[in-house]
């Protein structure tokens, strides 16, 4: 059985951490994702870009199994997530316990932060350590503190979310996810709910994480961030991946007309100049 929470003797940088094959997702009448294939490489940052409604957030949520994909297979470090392929070509829904186990390798940061309002920052970060890992309160809080230090918020540990700015709340949310030592971190438009002056502190934390070698999948509108930090990029439009590849190649020569349009719109909005 693969150990999904250790990182010591890990896979090589560049090998596949999360693989998506033939994924489709429909909400009622509307097909949001059509037959998507994607290989997320270990140790690097993958950015998912695209206009609103392109399905990029849904794709990310499928990776977290917060949405159940209607077709296709997702594997996380070799282990199937939610559905396993059957020899006859069909899919087998795996039990929830299995989903929970595979999910341990994944951490997620949400656009709306989703900090629990009735707990302090320290409480939020240590909650899972106490309840899932079974650590004692002292041990859990000690670890939580050290993670809060990593996001530069140790001095606000005893504040409630209502007493923190948006940027601070998001950093606590990142700490909360990091505390469980995931191997892959998913970011769903982490700065879209923030006032412009506050995005910097969050992007800076994400940049540090990337430099430390964390495998990250980021859905974002921050083109500058994507251009500077991402190794791989996938551009989605209307539920399909139109372009995928190395960030530096794609941004240098955005040959696809939809991508060119998209970049122009976002560059017009004052995004950072591309490298």
């Amino acid at each position: 059985m693969t150990d999904l929470t250790g990182r010591a003797a890990g896979p090589e940088v560049g090998s596949v951490a999360l693989r998506i094959e033939g994924l489709s997702k429909t909400f009622g009448e509307h097909t949001v994702l059509k037959n998507v294939d994607l290989a997320v490489r270990h140790g690097v940052v993958t950015c998912l870009l695209g206009p609103s409604g392109s399905g990029k957030s849904t794709l990310l949520r499928c990776m977290a199994f917060l949405e159940e994909h209607d077709a296709g297979i997702i594997t996380v470090y070799g282990e199937p997530l939610g559905f396993a392929p059957k020899p006859d070509g069909g899919r087998q829904r795996l039990p929830n316990a299995q989903v929970a186990r595979v999910r341990r390798a994944i951490g997620m940061v949400f656009q709306q932060f989703n900090l629990w309002p009735h707990m302090t920052a320290l409480g939020n970060v240590s909650e899972a350590l106490k309840r899932v890992r079974g650590l004692s309160r002292r041990e859990a809080e000690a670890r939580a503190m050290s993670v809060l230090r990593r996001v530069d918020l140790a001095d606000r540990a005893y504040h409630y979310p209502s007493q923190l700015s948006g940027g601070q709340q998001q950093r606590v949310a990142i700490a909360r996810a990091l505390a469980m030592e995931p191997r892959i971190m998913l970011f769903d438009e982490p700065t879209s709910s923030l006032d412009p002056e506050l995005t910097g502190e969050v992007l800076s934390v994400m940049r540090h994480l990337a430099q430390e070698g964390m495998t990250m999948v980021v859905v974002t509108h921050e083109i500058g961030f994507a251009a500077q930090v991402a190794s791989d990029v996938a551009f989605l439009d209307k539920g399909e991946i139109l372009l995928r590849g190395l960030a530096k190649e794609i941004f240098a020569k955005p040959w696809h007309p939809r991508l060119a349009d998209f970049l122009e719109t976002y560059l017009d909005r004052g995004a950072a100049v591309l490298v």
Partner: protein
């Protein structure tokens, strides 16, 4: 207004306060399973829950109390009037509380539950440590409101022979021929009790402030 009349009315107010408090507590206890049933995916449970809420909110409390008063002896349950009153009030308020609880529960932002799932919390842990505390805080103002409503509704149990504030005022006004004095005093006592509940509720809300002032 002679002192001894005030004493008697205050005694009645005490009875009112106790009956109301008991009704609130029992009502909340009954409301929890009713709310759970009305939120259940099981069709039968859901229907039972909704029917209970619909009946006890659709029938006037006076009728409910009288029905209970005459029904119980008929099925060989002989309770003292005060107990019948508490049961009647509790059953009625449970319907309103269940509706409040249901609303509070449904209003817990789904993102908070998703975040809990992502860090690995199990369903039971999510219910106990995330959904219930947040729902309770959301529902607190409604519970306090309901408590005030019960206090006022308790005046109806005077009809089923309980010596609470209203009955006391009635008795005194017939014996002293001073209905204005007695009922005014009773009204003031009700106001006092209600203000106490409101103040208590405010205090409780402050205690659960979560950083907000």
């Amino acid at each position: 207004m002679s002192w001894k009349y005030f004493e008697l009315l205050a005694l009645g107010a005490g009875v009112t306060a106790i009956i109301s408090a008991l009704a609130i507590v029992f009502g909340l206890a009954i409301a929890v399973p009713i709310a759970a049933a009305s939120l259940a995916r099981n069709r039968l449970l859901h229907r039972l829950g909704r029917s209970y809420i619909s009946f006890f909110r659709g029938v006037p409390l006076l009728v409910q109390l009288m029905l209970l008063y005459y029904l119980l002896p008929g099925i060989s349950i002989n309770l003292p009037n005060t107990a019948t009153a508490v049961v009647g009030l509790a059953l009625c308020t449970a319907a309103y509380q269940a509706e409040n609880l249901r609303g509070g529960f449904l209003n817990v932002a789904p993102g908070l539950v998703e975040a809990a799932r992502m860090v690995g919390l199990g369903d039971r842990q999510i219910l106990l440590h995330i959904r219930l505390p947040i729902a309770f805080r959301l529902v607190l103002p409604a519970i306090v409101n309901e408590a005030i409503l019960i206090l006022k509704s308790s005046s109806l149990v005077s009809v089923v022979g309980v010596s609470e504030l209203t009955r006391m005022a009635q008795n005194l006004s017939t014996s002293t021929f001073k209905p204005l004095d007695m009922y005014t005093m009773a009204g003031l006592l009700y106001l006092l009790l209600n203000w106490s509940i409101a103040a208590g509720g405010l205090g409780l809300e402050r205690a659960l402030h979560w950083g907000r002032r």
